[in-house]
């Protein structure tokens, strides 16, 4: 059975991620203890809410360095993906984990489009990756976000919402999903299953 550690740091949708992984038969450990990260097989960084608040929670709990040093597969979900980048413009602006180059910005789109980007959008895979095995062009994923990651060499899959939305990113052993795989029906389950199958 594949085992996965999910960071529970007071700024995440931890239960829904945990349940989704359990539906796939994984053994899930929730933790906020940096010591648990060091021996984790795989690590998930969930996140909802504001970037500055999430970073302050990670710092208070002493998790920042442990996440940065983690050498095995790491998956950031939603805000968790945004935190992988260098910085975010959200609020007053905040330095984030700095594991993928680039800056997270506010949506600069047609004001007729509602923000947050909330709902199901299609995925377009731009680069093959083990995390995206079995994902078909046009598969649907559930997004909820008001800020958008920079599109660049890390982008594995995109969505479109008035602009390009990097939907799945990767830099070395760090992956991110802007959408919620735990709430994205079949495609989401497939991505989580692929994550559980990555060599740890």
């Amino acid at each position: 059975m594949s085992s996965v550690t999910v960071l529970s740091y007071g700024a995440g949708n931890v239960a829904s991620v945990q349940f989704a992984l359990e539906r796939l038969g994984a053994s899930v450990r929730l933790t906020s203890d940096p010591a648990d990260i060091a021996d984790a097989e795989r690590l998930i960084l969930p996140g909802v809410g504001a970037a500055a608040y999430a970073m302050s929670r990670l710092e208070t709990l002493g998790l920042v360095e442990a996440i940065r040093a983690f050498p095995r597969p790491l998956l950031g979900v939603c805000l968790g993906q945004q935190l992988l980048f260098d910085a975010s413009d959200e609020g007053e602006g905040v330095q984030t984990l700095g594991l993928i180059p680039g800056h997270v910005t506010r949506f600069d789109i047609d004001p007729a489009l509602p923000v947050p980007h909330m709902g199901w959008s299609r995925l377009e895979v731009v680069r093959d990756d083990p995390l995206l095995e079995g994902i078909q062009p046009g598969d649907w994923a559930y997004f909820v976000h008001s800020f958008v990651c920079p599109d660049g060499p890390a982008t594995l899959a995109r969505a479109e919402y008035g602009t390009v939305v990097p939907a799945v990113v990767r830099n070395a052993n760090r992956w991110g999903c802007q959408f919620h795989p735990e709430r994205s029906a079949k495609a989401g389950a497939r991505i989580l299953q692929n994550f559980l199958g990555l060599p740890a």
């Binding site: 909802v48 909330m118 709902g119 649907w140 919402y161 735990e182 709430r183 029906a185 079949k186």
Partner: protein, 255 residues
Amino acid sequence: MTARRIIPCLDVRDGRVVKGVRFKDHVDMGDASELAARYRDQGADELVFYDITASPEGRTLDYDWVSDIARLLDIPFCVAGGIRSVDQAARCLDHGADKVSINSPALERPDLIGEMSDRFGAQCVVLGVDSKRAGDDWVVHQYTGDPTASRGAGRRTLDWIVEAQGLGAGEIVLNCMDEDGVRRGYDIAQLQATRACLTIPLVASGGAGAADHFRDVFQQADVSGALAASVFHSGVLAIPDLKRQLEGDGIEVRR
């Protein structure tokens, strides 16, 4: 772009789904978990669970029940009913809900919207608004879960939604009470007026009785989602058929 969302709403009392007409005379429609699983499998894009007795009875949702639903679903869901504080909302989210919807407590104390939004992000904070025609305008009602307590909130609907958006609501569900449960179609004029005031997503509620009603509300009022209850619970309209028809009408839906 996003697909237009089809959102079955489950009014829940003691784990059973009930349905009334214009918020009254409730009839049992089946077990909540079973219906939720059925809608998930049929392609519902999101579910809303509304504990209709929580608010009138002065209590909030059963958190273990929220967890049971969260285990079952691989689509997003929103919970509502008796949520009056940031801590209660936090517990719903901690137990696996994706969003919480507040209604009367936000009217009593609008700052609750901002407090929730600051803590969880706007995307988790849905404002439910029960709205009724008043001459050529619309006004907000509160405590609508209990016919004996239901009354006007003394506010114009359009003023209230704009204020709520400014306070940090992430989505508005506008329930047009004049149409609720009567299946004559959504209140297009009211939804158009509401959409024009908002930059956040708007979900239509109240009045769905046929596939054409969904088409009309998406095409004419540009809402992000359409919520319905009795038309799905009663079997009048199956979600796969509805989506096929909407797709035929050129409306993007998730299939």
